[in-house]
């Protein structure tokens, strides 16, 4: 079947989609967006978390056909999404700002390390706090954590743990992830 939906603000089309494919598979294998991860494909790890019409969901449990006409935000679009939120735009509504286009040109990116890339505050906080080891759980955690901070800018530790209880991490023991989310929340409230 054919599928049309919006991913990270851009219209996308996929052809010859097998009806049993998940949204995750379409993102990863058909649209070249492998950032959402395929760790369990049974809704038990959160690594594939994306926002479907704004709501965090496991993309492995969304049948591809169910995404028809919907808006999806993945980790690849998180920085833009956070920037547009900060600038007061809705999902994908503002396009690329002139300011961003200039920044892009001025700084460039390092293809090996990605240095110079624009990051969402929560992405920067994960780096700074040492919350990334193997990184396989990271994309899902980032999408979930970013959404929680949007809803609840001043979370308690128990709030953070509850909001992230659907995201397994096997490397870090979660302590640095807690640090990262606390850091992102603190920076957010300080307006940094």
């Amino acid at each position: 079947m054919r599928l049309n939906f919006t991913v990270n603000g851009r219209p996308q089309e996929a052809d010859d989609v097998w009806e049993g494919e998940s949204l995750l598979y379409v993102l990863r294998e058909r649209l070249g967006l492998p950032g959402s991860k395929n760790a369990c494909e049974q809704g038990e790890c959160g690594s594939c978390t994306v926002r479907l019409d704004g709501v965090p969901v496991c993309s492995c449990l969304v049948a591809a056909g169910q995404a028809e006409g919907r808006e999806v935000v993945t980790v690849e679009g998180l920085a833009d999404f956070a920037r547009q939120r900060a600038e007061g735009c809705g999902t994908g509504a503002c396009g690329t700002s002139l300011q961003k286009a200039r920044r892009w040109e001025a700084r460039g990116t390092d293809s090996q390390t990605g240095e110079g890339t624009d990051l969402a505050p929560v992405q920067q906080a994960f780096l700074d706090a040492g919350a990334v080891q193997c990184g396989f759980c990271t994309p899902g955690l980032l999408v979930a954590a970013d959404e929680m901070l949007e809803r609840n800018p001043n979370p308690t530790d128990a709030d953070i743990r509850e909001a992230l209880s659907g995201n397994l991490c096997r490397c870090t023991g979660y302590e640095k992830i807690m640090d990262a989310v606390r850091l992102a929340a603190a920076r957010q409230s300080e307006g940094v």
Binding site: W18, G20, R28, E29, G32, L33, P34, G35, S36, K37, N38, A39, C40, E41, Q42, E44, C45, S47, T74, V75, E76, L78, A79, Q112, T113, G114, E115, T117, L119, Q123, Q124, F126, L127, D128, G130, V132, Q133, C134, G135, F136, C137, T138, P139, L142, A158, I160, R161, E162, S165, G166, N167, L168, C169, R170, C171, T172, G173, Y174, E175, K176
Partner: protein, 794 residues
Amino acid sequence: MPTNGVPTKITQGSGTKGGIGESTLRPDGTLKVTGEFAYSSDMWHEDMLWGQILRSTVAHAEIVSIDTSKALATPGVYAVMTYDDLPTDVKNYGLEIQDTPVLAHGKVRHHGEPVAIVAADHPETARRAAARIRVEYRDLPVVTDEASALAPDAVLVHEARDDHHIGHVPHPNVVHRQPIVRGDVEAARRRADVIVEGEYTFGMQDQAFLGPESGLAVPEEDGGVHLYIATQWLHSDLRQMAPVLGLPEDKVRMTLAGVGGAFGGREDLSMQIHACLLALRTGKPVKIVYNRFESFFGHVHRHPAKLYYEHGATREGKLTHVKCRIVLDGGAYASASPAVVGNASSLGIGPYVVDDVEIEALALYTNNPPCGAMRGFGAVQACFAYEAQMDKLAERLGMDPVELRQLNAMEQGALMPTGQPVDSPAPVAELLRRVKAMPMPPERQWESSEGADVRQLPGGLSNTTHGEGVVRGVGYAVGIKNVGFSEGFDDYSTARVRMEVAGGEPVATVHTAMAEVGQGGVTVHAQIARTELGVTQVTIHPADTRVGSAGSTSASRQTYVTGGAVRNACELVREKVLELGRRRFGSYHPAWATAELLLEGGKVVTDGGEVLADLADVLGDEAVEVEEEWRHRPTEPFDLRTGQGNGHVQYSFAAHRAVVEVDTELGLVKVIELACAQDVGKALNPLSVIGQIQGGTTQGLGVAVMEEIVVDPKTAKVRNPSFTDYLIPTILDTPTIPVDVLELADDHAPYGLRGVGEAPTLSSTPAVLAAIRNATGLELNRTPVRPEHLTGTG
């Protein structure tokens, strides 16, 4: 500024930013947070096919027939291969013993063994085709434990063994057996005032890395193949793959793809050979990605174990003797079992001084899932048991369990049961002191003005208690782990370091085959290069087989061994750069010939701080490059009868204090805090070190209260191969983990460092168990402990 006219002496690296000792950030971090980092399952190629493996549905059976005709006739299928299609006479592989069939031949020995492989144009096509392969099995009796494996009429798991262990094992269903005998246990037992005995069970743990086994094999024009793969050791894979593929090693090229965690589970091959076989057969790139179900069958697990211990002590608490027997279930294939036996035996009594010891450790061949490497192997199982024994002993003696441990704690200079002296700091008593001295978490943190916060209570969101039945307990444990490959293994690593000018600045490139699996080796390599070469810009070259072996990312060894190799190569590069400088500029300043010269801040300086030249000028258009192997001190095998020998190169120590709250009526556990103190010798990257300790601690917590692969004892089939029923801790199960890092240098190791990754996985489990015992008063001789064990409803 110089004082009294004497210049301040500086040493190499002390003035370079981002060098060792700093918490520099991961070079791959940005790519990982943006989703651009390419993991092995993310690989994609034009026209690629998808591989699928058909696995046995039974644990032990003869294969009567395999009919692939319907699979081959499925539209979209490009190849179906079975044992008969293997291209050479080499049809088995294995880390030490080549006993594992690439595809089953004649029989299957465990549930989930690969029988056939399929390549098709879509994963669903490949799955459908695999499902159309008809395999007829004739069931054989299953061997599942020591009694069934060693019975006189036991079915042999491997009927014709010719490996180098067969000569010394008591039965062909024993992979390897290692006794260690020291002193006179019979005599020592007579001196004991108190003797405690125990029988312990350690469940089968899974590494449960999140990135599934996966990779992409691309056929090359010269008849070779290029494999992009997540592994722990590229060259070990290569050595096992090439003969099966019938290719010389230089035609099997391997590049490390992003690795989503490993923890030992990627030390053995999984889909590597299968993907390459299909790529070579079809002439097309082939991608294989396991799903989670398959991942539980696709890699080895932690050995489950039965452990029998006898500890004796004097009235004052001095250990008189330890006698123990550790039976590890290796499952159907050998994998790392011999090394696991070596660790379990040599580390079997823990970090304690005991003169009279009898240890026996062995690994069985059974029809259970194959077991092999997992973080802390051998030492983890033993630590669970000997620490339970220490608590039992303390209780019998009426002593404080920490004091009893401190009284018997080893120090530098102590002798291991193998007779090997511990020749670097062994701050066992100090680690216990530190972990005990940490402030206790406040009581009843779940109480709030709005009632009980269930998120902080046992049962969590499931709303099972508002405080009823909740009892707090505290427990301690300490452990000892070897670092690096032991028992005479030639454990080396290779590093290639290049220095040149790019964009007007000196840049160092570090190229190794080290598998970055998340541990942060790439971060540390860049730090070492900055320290040793005085540059700020370091490029980490992707790991591949175009450079020599880096050994395995396991055994807590990479910072030590590949870190050591990088430092060594950097030192050689530095010498060459200085040589170049002397040739070019030596005549301009006498210090080139007379002073000790350093590379700092992109310049050549004297140890007095005088700048002689810019590195960019010294290098000019030249690139300086060195590739060198580096080895740690050699070790020797353990004597097969007495277990004596200098088998290990370094030891690593950690201690934990666990604070738990147990709902004693429902048998649910909430770990409140899991404090750790560990000696790391030298923290090259403190942030990474703490991350390793917290991660290892949490894996130990998992196997204490929830993680276990359940195998049906009648059929040897796995009953819970999913993340629905194999549970690993969530963020709500994981407590705060305060870490106290001690840095006592090991003078034999690069920078004095000590391997970090495994030790925290050892003592975490027994500390949690001790805390649960403390809360409940129950004996608890198995891990993981489940609600039925805490409520007498097992």
